[in-house]
């Protein structure tokens, strides 16, 4: 046995989950992010309100839950052979070398998404710090709130021009970013149980408490503007929940619902397959997968659906309650908090602290699969893998920071990697699980050691329903979004260069697989099979 494999084995033995609740909260923490509180309510309100929940829950049942189960099962299976990264696991479970290289997508996604997500995470902490220290003052003239809020956003993000963030030097926003980066790397370096699991075990309940506090404040807003009696909390809830069933006949509504489920649950991201690989074969995957999903849905529908849109509607009316993730979260809500008066400062601090916790539990989950991949592909220790990871991540973060004008680099990475490739990875995992490993065998494998059972008839869902639904959604998504982004590539060289950066990163990862190829072909892994058969 080679020395590198010994290192790999030692690393594999060192890593592992401390408790069942820990792994559930870590997966849920990965899934719960800004999208739960900001993207979901915007999508629902714009796509039929309460009626949106029909395609949303249908997508959850035939897309989110099945792909999640497939990913949990593949991960645990790969882990039983001593593998923890998507390339090694997909290659091993499928028995086909090509899947090792295709599995690189499962490492590329978290790595590239991290490069811009960590910036968004730092915006959340920056806003929280500003509220806590009293630095978030939008003035006394309500007519100027929106403009002042936009100025804060421009400063925090550098959206006004390329290189602006670097020109700020060691101002608060950049110090916050450094703190966030160091915190991420440190927690990742500490490992699964002592770092990620421990952090999520505390962060998730704190996040829930923050959400409850903000929710109570929003639901008790009443009618704050006597001049606008129509702007009350019930009308705000109505704006979010009143159903428009005619929208169900619009394909875009189904596309939006399926997309929301897909991106919200972190399936096809390369994270769950990695996290599940640290389970023992006698550990549950079916109920664990459902519980992590249920936690995500609780935050998304139970909190996200009740807070953002109603709060914006009450103070700004229908026109203020629309907008994308960043618009609602970083422009609109600070205006809402300003309207709340002195108390708004503390609501703002709680809100953005909550968003920061949602973001950091997600960003940590992006570092872990890459660390595991570097460890087992290069045959190095976790410490050295973390160093390599930092070397890969920092230039990418600097790229996104520099090309901040109109958030071009961020948007390009988000579309091509954080959106398009997730569909590809989700499809790959479904194909390996349902068609190569076999749906019946896959269900049997998933049910082994699990406290809940996937019924046998579900093989039809794995084999036909989910792949076909995913295909329809993916084609619809391409028709709807690809032309605009292809045009952006042609018109904006920064977008094209950013895609070049992604290609370079992908090449490095492919090289790592190539380097490990021979070892993975002959090595049977650590074969934690004592409880496998």
């Amino acid at each position: 046995m080679s020395g590198s494999v010994e290192v790999e084995q030692a690393s594999a033995k060192a890593d592992g989950w401390g408790s069942r609740l820990g792994v559930i909260l870590a997966v849920a923490g990965s899934a719960v992010g800004l999208g739960n509180f900001l993207r979901f309510p915007g999508q629902a309100a714009q796509n039929g309100g309460g009626a949106f929940m029909i395609p949303y829950f249908v997508s959850l049942l035939i897309l989110g839950i099945p792909i999640g189960w497939a990913e949990w099962t593949l991960g645990r299976r790969g882990g039983a052979h001593g593998y923890h990264s998507a390339p090694a696991i997909l290659g091993r479970v499928s028995g086909q070398k090509a899947f090792r290289y295709l599995g690189v997508i499962g490492v590329l996604i978290p790595l590239v998404v991290y490069m811009y997500y960590v910036l968004i995470e730092s915006w959340c902490l920056y806003y929280a710090v500003q509220y806590l220290t009293g630095g978030m003052d939008l003035g006394t003239d309500p007519g100027g709130y929106t403009k002042a809020s936009e100025a804060v956003f421009t400063r925090a993000t550098g959206i006004g021009g390329n290189g602006q963030l670097f020109a700020h030097g060691l101002d608060t926003e950049n110090i916050v970013l450094i703190v966030v980066l160091v915190l991420n790397v440190w927690l990742c370096y500490r490992g699964l149980s002592a770092g990620i699991e421990k952090f999520c075990t505390y962060a998730m309940p704190v996040m829930a408490v923050c959400a409850v506090v903000v929710l109570i404040r929003v639901l008790t807003l009443g009618t704050p503007h006597p001049d606008h009696p129509e702007r009350n909390v019930l009308a705000g809830l109505g704006y979010m929940w009143n159903p428009d069933f005619s929208r169900l006949w619009d394909f875009k509504t189904w596309l939006a619902a399926a997309g929301q489920i897909f991106f919200s649950l972190s399936v096809g991201f390369g994270v769950i397959i990695n996290y599940a690989s640290y389970l023992r074969r006698k550990d549950d995957v079916v109920l664990n997968g459902l519980t992590a999903t249920a936690t995500n849905e609780l935050f998304e529908v139970g909190f996200g659906g009740m807070i953002t849109i109603p709060a914006a509607f009450v103070f700004l009316g229908a026109s203020g309650a629309v907008g994308g993730t960043f618009g609602l979260g970083f422009n609109t809500l600070p205006v809402v908090f300003q309207y709340l008066g002195p108390f708004g400062r503390w609501v703002g601090a709680i809100w953005f602290s909550m968003l920061f916790l949602a973001a950091i539990t997600s960003s940590l989950s992006m570092l872990q699969p890459v660390t595991a991949f570097l460890t087992e592909s290069l045959g190095v220790s976790r410490k050295r893998a973390t160093s390599v990871l930092v070397g890969l991540v920092l230039p990418g973060v600097a790229w996104v920071m520099w090309f901040s004008k109109d958030l071009t680099a961020l948007d390009t990475m988000d579309f091509w990697v954080g959106t398009t490739l997730i569909f590809v990875m989700g499809s790959l995992q479904l194909v390996v699980f349902a068609w190569i490993f076999g749906a019946e065998r896959g269900i049997e494998e998933a049910n082994h050691g699990s406290d809940a059972r996937i019924p046998a008839w579900f093989r039809w869902v794995f084999r036909w329903v989910s792949p076909l639904f995913l295909l329809v959604v993916f084609v619809g998504f391409c028709i709807q979004s690809l032309p605009g982004y292809l045009k952006a590539l042609a018109d904006n060289p920064i977008a094209l260069w950013t895609l070049g950066v992604v290609a370079v990163v992908a090449s490095v990862l492919v090289f790592c697989v190539w380097k490990a190829d021979e070892r993975w072909s002959t090595d049977q892994g650590t074969e934690r099979m004592e409880d496998a058969e």
């Binding site: 929940w241 159903p243 249920a294 609780l298 406290d451």
Partner: protein
């Protein structure tokens, strides 16, 4: 807020809270919690 709004909100919230409660009750009752 219309009746349809109330119904869709209550049904959705009942589903997500019920789903989460069922899952966590089963996990915490299980031998491997």
């Amino acid at each position: 807020m219309t009746l349809g709004g109330w119904v869709s909100m209550v049904v959705s919230l009942t589903f997500v809270w019920g789903f989460a409660a069922w899952c966590y009750a089963k996990v915490l009752r299980g031998p491997k919690a």
